[in-house]
């Protein structure tokens, strides 16, 4: 597999998701009503993720990491298109449930890819290097978005992030991964 390409892919989705997360709270603030609703929105996210992990774990070994990453990339690309349309707090709750599912897919796949392809003896170095580049991408995205949001609306951030996710879905095509064993 092409390890560099995987880092590049993770960097791209890291950029896209960190573009929205810190500013996402601004959307909930416009839509939501109280801190309790903030709590619920994030709680639902974590709760759905928890429920999805066992299922995703099983699937990962059957269908392969690449397929799951594709589900995540395209899923996020489409899901983000619904965020600018959210005007009621229950819209946000539903979106959070889907975010929870997709988030779980990504978290699990990231780790399985690493687990499958890292060389045990130099795992520390390799995972370290992986984190350097994905974190750099995240940092750049957050800072840049902070400026961008001054010029654009919050809604446009979701559209831009969605395009980046779609781009990451295209990147996956070039990622060579062995097919699952069975």
């Amino acid at each position: 597999m092409n390890y560099k390409r995987f880092i590049y892919y993770q960097g791209t989705i890291g950029m896209a998701s960190s573009m929205i997360f810190p500013f996402y709270i601004l959307l909930i603030k416009n839509v939501g009503n109280s801190y309790a609703q903030f709590g619920w929105a994030y709680g639902l996210f974590a709760l759905t993720a928890a429920l999805c992990y066992p299922l995703i774990g099983k699937y990962a070994d059957h269908v392969g990491d690449k397929t799951l990453l594709a589900v995540y990339s395209w899923g996020m690309a489409i899901l983000l298109l619904f965020f600018p349309l959210a005007s009621e707090v229950w819209h946000v709750y539903i979106l959070q449930v889907f975010m929870g599912m997709l988030g779980a897919v990504q978290k699990n796949s990231e780790k399985t890819v690493l687990a499958r392809y890292v060389t045990k003896e130099i795992a520390g170095t390799q995972i370290g290097r992986y984190h350097v580049w994905t974190s750099v991408a995240t940092a750049v995205a957050v800072i840049a978005t902070g400026y961008l949001i001054d010029f654009l609306t919050i809604a446009s951030i979701f559209y831009v992030a969605s395009l980046v996710f779609a781009w990451s879905g295209m990147l996956l095509l070039k990622l060579n991964m062995p097919e699952p064993q069975q």
């Binding site: 603030k29 939501g32 009503n33 779609a166």
Partner: protein, 476 residues
């Protein structure tokens, strides 16, 4: 092939989302619902010097623009704004010009806050005669709303103004005092910024003093006699406030009173003179938060207040520190709800009959989220054209939590109008700086000189250079 389909599907949904977003949701109303009064303000100019202020007024005159004057903008009835007008932000105009120790006066620019004055005069052992209960407001703002405070011995805020200078609609600077330009003087005090820009003000001061806190609990029917016996007739009692319960268990019945009396040993004053800063904001903020949620929260807020009041009994505190009441804990940030104030004045002798009738109105509207009622005393004072104290009155300040949508506003309006009707029936009046819920007829009933006020405005500023939404709404 699969990817091509995926990309096509994605682009299709992208287009749909963009279409719906731009056609339906991105209308101009989207960001207006957070405020009760959506208005556009062309520019905000900070008036730093007299010349600059004069230029703003002259430019407005030439360009045919209207001006509104703003301090802290806590008035909720649009007194500081006018659609498409120019709002003058007075906050940067805030110098303390002179503290005169001998004459016991202070001269300040109108954008200074009461806190600014306190910091300037405290080192001289001087204190304000009358100020608003919270010290975050600007002097110009407080004078324009003819505010009152906790002091029960020094009359109204207007009585403590030695003189002031005002810039009229022609950019002329006039000297106003109880002796000079009196007509304009008593119109501008409580004039809601309609008569010109208050530039600087000379206020009469008094000595800082050490007070002993005296607290008591009673039911509402005993309060007027308690006040007369233990507060009004006691020459040592200088400042006073009370609260009536909004908790379901003791609704509109239980009260507690806090009176500040001259301490017998003034020698200790210096130990208490350092100006306190707000502390423990989290505790009252927590209880106020609870009381917003439900009835049990209101019970615990009331119980916490009673416990706290009991604890402070006998505490020594300087006059200046009594005049620095906490307000930070009341700050409230919510995009769908807001907190409004109402203030009603009722003659001391009517209080006992008045409270049960208010209670009946409030109980008929269980959704009306009342969070606090503070009671203070206002001496009869009819100098200002728009004067609310036709005789010696108790003032009731109500803090209300309400939604900002049209339906919530409508509901609150109904309750407010009913409460004002009850107040008027008891020869009372209400305070004008709050949201425009009252009817025009209610204003005229509460303020018999309403017509005179607006006629004076039209005569002194015929081109309506100074305008605000309050004028627009209540001009008879």
């Amino acid at each position: 092939m699969k990817t091509a389909w995926m990309v096509l599907l994605y682009l299709f949904i992208f287009g749909l989302s963009l279409y719906f977003y731009s056609t339906q949701l991105n209308g101009p109303t989207a960001d207006l619902h957070q405020r009760l009064l959506p208005v556009e303000i062309k520019t905000i100019k900070a008036g730093m010097s007299e010349d600059e202020l004069q230029k703003i007024v002259e430019d407005a005159k030439q360009g045919g623009d209207t001006l509104s004057i703003a301090g802290m903008q806590h008035s909720q009835g649009g007194q500081t704004v006018y659609p498409d007008g120019i709002m003058i932000d007075m906050k940067p105009y805030n110098q303390i010009i002179e503290v005169n120790e001998e004459k016991k006066t202070v001269m300040v620019q109108s954008g200074a806050t009461w806190a600014n004055i306190q910091e300037a005069i405290n080192p001289y052992g001087l204190s304000l005669k009358v100020s608003q209960s919270q010290n975050i407001f600007t002097i110009g703002g407080s004078l324009s709303v003819n505010a009152h405070g906790l002091d029960i011995r020094n009359g109204s805020l207007a009585d403590t103004v030695v003189s002031m200078r005002l810039m009229n609609a022609d950019g002329e600077i006039l000297q106003l005092s109880p002796q000079e330009n009196t007509e304009l003087f008593y119109a501008a005090l409580g004039g809601y910024g309609l008569f010109g820009i208050i530039l600087d003000v000379t206020l009469q001061l008094t000595d800082d003093e050490l007070y002993e806190t005296d607290t008591a609990r009673m039911t509402y029917s005993d309060y007027p006699s308690y006040f007369k016996q233990h507060v009004q007739k006691n020459p040592d009692a200088k400042m006073h406030l009370a609260r009536i319960s909004i908790a379901p268990e003791s609704f509109m019945k239980d009260m507690y009173a806090i009176t500040y009396k001259t301490a017998s040993d003034q020698g200790q004053l210096s130990a208490y003179q350092e100006l306190k800063t707000e502390n423990l904001v989290a505790v009252p903020k927590f209880f106020l938060g609870l009381s917003r949620i439900n009835e049990a929260g209101k019970d615990s807020f009331w119980n916490a207040q009673k416990t706290y009041t009991k604890q402070i009994d006998g505490n020594l505190v300087s006059r200046n520190n009594v005049m620095r009441s906490d307000s930070e804990f009341m700050e409230y940030d919510n995009s769908r709800k807001t907190e409004i104030l109402q203030e009603y004045f009722v003659p001391v002798d009517q209080f006992e009959d008045y409270i049960p009738e208010m209670k009946a109105v409030l109980e008929a509207h269980p959704d009306f989220n009342l969070l606090n009622v503070t009671i203070r005393y206002v001496e009869q004072n009819e100098k200002a054209v728009l004067s609310y104290a036709k005789e010696d009155m108790f003032s009731l300040v109500l803090l209300v939590n309400q939604g900002t949508d049209a339906e919530s506003i409508e509901k609150t309006q109904q309750v407010v109008r009913e409460m004002i009707d009850v107040t008027l029936a008891h020869n009372g009046s209400y305070y004008l700086p709050y949201f425009g819920y009252p009817t025009k007829a209610q204003m005229q009933a509460a303020y018999p000189k309403t017509e005179e006020f607006f006629e004076l405005k039209d005569r002194l500023d015929p081109e309506h250079r100074f305008m605000n939404l309050f004028y627009e709404e209540y001009r008879p």
